[in-house]
Each structure stands twice: as C-alpha cells, then as structure tokens.
Symmetry: C2
Subunit: 349 residues, 2 copies
C-alpha cells in the first residue's frame, strides 16, 4: 500500500490478457482502473459510469466511428492506438467540426501481452492529448485465442461544427470549376504497413503519415474559403476518394500526375511492390475542394501549417453526365482512374 | 436495370464476405449501399459521408459505447445485432437520457455468409426502430479467416438528458436508507447463451431477455422520483452490478434472496450448470436505487410497464465503512455477495 502509484501500475501489468479481463468482474474492473482510467485520466472516466455526461459548445454536433484492425499493431511512425485516435479525429475534422470527445471499445485476444496493450493505450492517450480530445467512455471485451488478432479498437467521435460555419463541407458539394487540393505526399501509410508486413527494409525510412488534421482544418477555415468538400484519402487512397466524391457530387474530376507528390522512397517501394501510390492509404492527409477564386489563398494557408507544407493544387472539377476521375500523366497522356476494385492492401487501418 | 429493387438486393447478397469488402474500394461501397444504407435507411447514411451532422434537442448530451462479441451470433430471443442496439440504448437510458443516435462499426471475418450478415443487420434495423434511435454513421472492416469470429459489432450511442432532469442518476449517488429495485427476473440472458452454446435443450424455453429499456425509464421518470442510480446488470450479473454501485457510492447494500425473481426454467438450468443466477447476465433489466419515500410509487409505475411487470424491491442501502453487498437467504441466513472473480460466462454479450 506504500508503494508509489507508478510502481503499482507496472506491477499489475505484467503477464497477459486472459478471459477474466472481459467477464465483467473484478479482473476487468482492475484493468479499467489500473490502465484505461489512469492513461486517459479525466473526470468522466473517474466517475466509473457506463456513460459520459458531456458539455457541448454551440454549433451542430457531428458523430463518426471507425474500427481499427491494422496489422501489424506497431509500425514505423505509429501504432494501432495512435491510428484509432487520428482516424476518428480526422473524420470529424473533415466535417469542418472541432473534435471534442472520443469513445474507445477494445476487443482483446486472450494472450495479448499487457506490455503491448499498455504501449498502445499510452500512445492513444498521447495522441488524444495532442489532438485536444478526451476519451470519455469505453468498453473492453476479450475473445479466445485464435478468435481475434491481438487487439481491435473502435473509436467513435463527437465534435461540433461552429455556428459561424454556414455550410459544412460535404462529399456531394463539388461543382464544375472547383479546384482540388491535396495537403501533402500520398501513399506513405499504405506503403509503410505493407513494407513492414512483408519484412522489407527500405533504403530510406518509409514512415506512416498518421497525424491529426484538425489543426490544419482550423487554420484553413480562418480565411473563410468557399470549401465544398473535405475528405481524408485513407483506405483505397487518393484515387478511390476522388471517385467517391465524383460519384456523390455527380461530376468529373481531372487531376495532373505531376502535381501529386510522392516521396522518392515511397515511389521506389511502390515500383518494387507493384503498387500504385494513388491507391495506397494515407492517414494524415486531406483532399480539399474549393471554389476556384479561393484556391490560391487556401493553398498558401495550407503551406504555412506543418501538416500542409507539401500541399498542391492537383486538378479541378468538371461537368460530366457520368462521374469519372481522369489522370493527365506526366507524359501528357490521359487515363481513367477507377475505384480500387481488388484487395490491394488488407487491414491497412 | 429493370429488376425490382428488392430482387437486386437479394441477388447481390449471395455468397460470403471476402477481404475486398473491407478494402475501401468498390466492393465495400457496394456492400454499404446494398445492405447497410438500405436496412438502416435514413438521411445521414444516404449522404454517404464518413460522419453525420446531427440535431440535438435541449439538454445534456450523453455518450456511451460497447463492443459486442457474443457467441453464438444467434440465440433464442435475439442475436448479436439486436444486442448491439439494446445494450447501447440501455447504457444511455441508465443516464436518464433519451437515446437518439447510434454509430455501428462492423468487424467481419472473411467467409461470413452474407445471409447471416443480412439477418443481423435487418435485426439491428428493427431493434433501432423499436427503440426510436437512428443508426447514422458506420464502418466496415474485414479480417482474415481465423483472425475474427464471424462478426463483432461496436455501437456508440448519443442521447440527451432533458433539461427538466435536475440531477442525472449516477453510480456514486446511492445513500443509506435508499431502496433497491430490480425491474424483473434475473439470469435469463446469461443462461440462454450458455445453454445454447452447450447445446442444452431446456424443458421450457429459456430465452434472452434482450430489450430496450428507454421506454421503461421514461415511464419511471414521469412521477419525478428521487432516482439516485440506474444501471443495467449485464456482464457479471446483479451481484457484480450491486458491488460496483456499493464501491462507487461507498456504502453497503443488503438484498433479500426471496425478493429477487428467477424464472423456474432459469433456476433449473442454473442448478444443472452450477451457475448462480445472481452472477448471470441480463440484457433487458435494470437496477434502480431511489429515495425510500418514492420506492412504492416507483414500483407501482414500473409494474404498469410491459418491461417492468415483474419488478420488486429487493433491498436497501446501508451505511458502511467498507463497501459490501449482503444477501439474506430464503432460510434467514446471511452471506456476502462478492464481485464476479473468475470467468463464469465468457463472450456473453
């Protein structure tokens, strides 16, 4: 009882997850108290209820969710915990909302080392702190060995679109003439995961770009641009995201290959693996579509922000009877960029 | 193209889930469009964004989450889909909130028959309709065969505690003298799942009690009782829930065995399986703790409601230096009811 808190923390977290940690009894209560409540440390979790009673600032509430099943759990530049915070924070940011609260649901596989779980949970806590959100409510389940894969995490997010935003960006709002911007290089996350999984050693470091984008979006909205669409090109990559938008907005999108930035190390790995970087996942990039007259100023503002330093205008929206996405290649040719159709990169997030 | 919508629906849903359905491309978009958006049918899903922009009535927002990993996926009285709606609706109701919106995150195992997924999703849609909530945003992931178990579902819920509720019920609000009520029989869900899993055939039907409790809570609050605590005794059962409350409120709780109702068929199965029904999960029952002067009227109101017909006052809160829960047995003896310590019933919800 006289042991310092931190020491007790570590003492209890040796060993591995077993079925009792999901049974609803004392072992689960201890796990929640010793790990989750401590790491995420806030008034809501301290209350020990199965819910969180929240305060929301004025504006329109936004809700989102994602489950994370990335394999491997740890990779250069991040881990499943960081991804679970960033991904959901970014979905809120893409609605033009200020992310505020997250829930976290863990599905643990029997046998998961507590050391791994602790590392993931502390990483989530750090990511939440950086993004300015609180993890206010949660849940833990355990499944038998061979019925899961280490850990799956679901986060749901709640945020608010401030009252002064008249029209929240939406995938169906792109109009002919609008400009298409991307906040940086593409393919980093997908190639990092695939490379790690395949045990490839890249010459240069290929790291996941996992990052919260709410700060960048806040900076972008300061100039009050006529922002039609915001979306983060995660699974399926930039090409699939543009197809989704073309489909929702019933328009065509033309982009220029030489305006889309790909890190040299990522480009080299793509060549080696036979992957098109336009279809590889990103976890810290956004696509913005805005009115043509705001494009240059928006680009300028994005480039001032650390998460938008490599932003470019990659193309524009055109009128079309049937939605399409077309790439003008570096050599001046044109080809259609279709949806991702196969299983290029499973369990990328 | 001239085929009726319903026929196309069924045509596409033959076969099994494969890795492409989680890859973020066309197969996933089709699955979302053909199954989820149709079954849950609402304006938010129709927009096709990764978020839902919501309206909330006046009051305090409440957020909660649970993941569902129940095995088997289908059982007498319900299935994982129904459970995923009821469980989260009930967590909101236990905050005294009106449940409004749910998110749904699916983790599918490669090889899951679409027929099973469709049955689960339609069951969720029906449960959501009955409880008066909308499933407004979602996510689908697929994991390789042997890395999951059919389907896991996470739901997060958003509701609002109306402004006229001055103090929302909370686990730390029980006071000495308060009365403890239970809304009906205990152990039904836990024994149903265990029996189904073990392939037992009970003489009488033992069915899960899975049900939404927001209607019952709304009826209870009409008389404006001094309601300190509301909680649904799920994993760990009634005994564990009472221990949680005793712990949070720093009090003792004394209950009478003969006041706790157990269906005869459940009692018989418990005897056969060596399970104490006080530790078996419930999915459509609540524990209410209220000021002594309101107990009889509250009981009366609960019994008028279909979900509270078998409600009883089972005991009272007492002052205590160390939290405890004590059972007065039918024969007049007393024994302590501890937390569930082992792994009585894994994957019960």
């Amino acid at each position: 009882m006289d042991m310092p808190k931190s020491q007790r923390f570590h003492k209890r977290l040796r060993g591995r997850v077993d079925m009792t940690h999901g049974a609803g009894g004392k072992a689960m209560a201890n796990l929640i108290h010793d790990l989750f409540s401590r790491a995420f440390d806030n008034e809501w979790l301290a209350q020990g209820n199965d819910f969180a009673l929240l305060d929301l600032p004025p504006g329109r509430p936004v809700m989102t969710t994602d489950s994370y099943v990335v394999s491997p759990l740890f990779f250069p530049g991040g881990d499943i915990g960081k991804l679970a915070v960033h991904g959901t924070v970014n979905d809120l940011a893409m609605a033009g909302a200020e992310p505020l609260y997250l829930s976290a649901g863990f599905i643990l596989e029997e046998g998961l080392p507590f050391a791994d779980l602790e590392r993931i949970v502390l990483s989530m806590a750090e990511a939440a702190h950086e993004a300015g959100v609180c993890i206010v409510t949660g849940d833990t389940k355990v499944v038998e060995r061979g019925k899961g894969d280490g850990v799956f995490i679901n986060t749901a997010g709640l945020g608010v679109v401030p009252d002064w935003v008249e029209v929240a960006p939406s995938g169906d709002a792109a109009r002919p003439g609008d400009r298409v911007l991307v906040s940086g290089t593409v393919g980093d996350h997908g190639i990092c995961i695939l490379g790690t999984r395949e045990g490839l050693r890249f010459e240069s470091d290929v790291q996941s770009d996992t990052a919260p984008l709410n700060g960048l979006v806040a900076a972008m909205t300061i100039i009050e641009p006529d922002l039609r669409v915001l979306r983060d090109p995660t699974r399926g990559g930039l090409a699939t995201t543009l197809n989704e938008i073309a489909h929702q907005s019933r328009c065509g999108i033309r982009i220029r290959e030489d305006a889309v930035r790909v890190k040299p190390a990522v480009a080299a790995a793509c060549e080696l693996l036979g992957i098109d970087p336009l279809y590889a996942a990103n976890e810290g990039k956004l696509v913005a579509i805005c009115a043509p007259e705001d494009a240059e100023e928006l680009l300028h503002v994005m480039r001032q922000h650390p998460r938008g330093r490599d932003a470019t205008i990659i193309g524009e929206v055109v009128e079309a009877e049937h939605p399409f996405v077309e790439l003008e290649t570096t050599f001046g040719g044109r080809r259609l960029l279709d949806w991702l159709t196969g299983e290029q990169l499973p369990r990328i997030c």
